[in-house]
Amino acid sequence: MKILIANRGEIAVRIIRACREMGLRTVAVYSDCDRTARHVREADQAVHIGPSEAAQSYLRIDAIVEAAQTTGADAIHPGYGFLAENAAFARACQDAHLIFIGPSADAIALMGSKTAAREVAVRAGVAVVPGTEKPLDEDVGDDEIARIATSVGFPLLVKAVAGGGGKGMRTVADAAALASAVRTARSEARSAFGDAAIYLERRLVRPRHIEIQLLGDHHGTVVPFVERECSIQRRHQKVVEESPSIAVSSELRRRIAAAAAAVARAVNYSNAGTIEFLVDESGSFYFLEMNTRLQVEHPVTEMVTRMDLVQWQIRIARGEPLDIDPADALSANGHAIECRIYAEDPDLGFMPSPGLIRGLRPASGPGVRDDGGVSVGYSVPVFYDSMIAKLVTWGGSRRQAIDRMSRALREYQVLGIKTTIPFFLWLMQQPEYMAGQYDTTYLDRLLVDRKGDSFNELTASDEEVASIATALDAYLRASVHAGTPGAESTTHWKRAARLEALRG
């Protein structure tokens, strides 16, 4: 079996690793700026599919299907993002007699519409957050939206129907702020998804974002997994995920998992999927949406259940029956935490910080898993999501997982660009985080309280060490120029430099 991976970055590398371990051949696709990307080099074959803009490469169904056919691939893994939740893509694969490693096109289409998905949940007997039942297209005027908003109740969220990952989403405290929020949400949604339709949803007070991973096979078996806790979000985007959640009792776990499985069965769901819930302080939970694909944060589930979700996706797509013991899937061994390492500068409001990676030394050792997508010499492009790696740690206790994460973050070296590592180092030390006392609004509030203080503030002595190192670096460079009778080190490095210079 040969699998084409219709994606890039860490998830493409993750899928290639799974294929290698299963003895399957792989095909990568790439855009102009990804010629030297890691997924291109690690695949057995690679096909260029267009310019750097995603719309002209990773989103081009025709080019990707053609790449699969010219290379003789049997199946396509969409990863997450890009075409992963595009029903037309799943159909195009079917029509081209390619196995789409994911749910049926119908399931994608149905659950892809936030409003339709809500209806499915309601029919399956699962509570949903109060909100509009139908999408509000561009022609729906401000007055009507205001009227609907009052019935939903404030505070509320304006969300893009086609949305995801926090894009095209706005919080509205009262009627006054509604109109402008709707405008920005529509414009963001139009540019990001080419669809300006939105909907309104009541915003619960201090809710937690809890989600249930599912696997379904083609023989009617659906297995829900122990929950993931994804309440650490910045502007509605997950930045840290854990499993299990300290806010979920085993009794609540059983109920949420049962609800998730009920929704999945209602749509004959197959392959990997995730159902997101909001859980309020009382422990009541509300269906939020279903992601009909692999999640970025799937590794935390793998770390506590020790199952390989990507390998299961492939086996399910091959028609194999799920032979997982549901009890194992629902029980967590220890605790796992994932930090999404982004090429962003946390000191400039998490501004993307693309550019050449000059040095890279991921953390490793006991209890550490690094799912990386970049390498030295690669330039993080401006065209896509800027996540460069997922750092995951496991601990026998949540505390040990946190201590390990702090150790691993300190060990992790990325040179040449700014990353969110300093932010995570800081977060891991916040009392509320360490105590697990947080909700989806926690991080944004915390960031506001910091009033933009730098995450890279150094102690006076560390600042002095950094200054001394910079001066020594300059001194050593200068003494090489001057040809100072160099110390062993200097001449050694001169040699290395000359050697470098020799290499084109």
Binding site: G359, V465, I468, T470, L472, E488
Partner: protein, 171 residues
């Protein structure tokens, strides 16, 4: 040899001379110490402080952005260091809290100007959002490097900008 090194707006005068093969006499703002320094890989420096404490520190010094500017990594943190006063808009944006005189707001990467949040003449506070630039599918607020007055806005909404392009001047 003497250097002026600035981190987070704080500047130090550091002079260095080689004491022995790998040991250097380093004087920071008048305070003398003996340091055993070795290069490690392309950008690493291993420092052993020969003093009583014998502390060991590894620092990564990699060029980043404009010449004279270095991205220095130490224990997971990463600071922009300006050598001998050569600084740029971006450097300024970093030094923020301490920034002085006329400063610029610069696009750190290519993108499209979505919204202007201030107009010429406005009074602004440090880190106040000035322009919204869309890049990597996200809207990013570019903030003022300092408290002051908007001297001019150099771009229009909708305009595409290159990395390094000056967007506004704050005086």
């Amino acid at each position: 040899m003497t250097f002026a090194v600035e981190i987070n707006g704080r500047s130090r005068t550091i002079s260095i001379e080689r004491a022995t093969a790998d040991r250097y006499r380093v004087i920071v703002d008048g305070h003398v110490q003996l340091i055993d320094a070795k290069r490690v890989g392309s950008f690493g420096l291993s420092l052993l402080f020969a003093g009583a404490d014998r502390s060991s520190r590894e620092v990564q010094v990699a060029p980043a952005g404009p010449p004279g500017e270095m991205l220095v990594g130490i224990d997971g943190k990463s600071v922009t260091v300006v050598l001998n006063g050569r600084r740029t808009g971006r450097g300024a944006a970093e030094g923020s809290a301490h920034a002085r005189g006329e400063q610029t707001v610069v696009a750190p990467m290519p993108g499209r100007v979505v919204r202007l949040l201030v107009t010429g003449g406005d009074e602004v506070i440090a880190r106040q959002p000035i322009v919204v630039v869309e890049a990597m599918k996200m809207e990013n607020e570019l903030r003022s490097p300092k408290a002051g007055r908007v001297k001019e806005i150099v771009v229009k909404a909708g305009e595409s900008v290159e990395a390094g392009r000056v967007l506004a001047v704050i005086e």
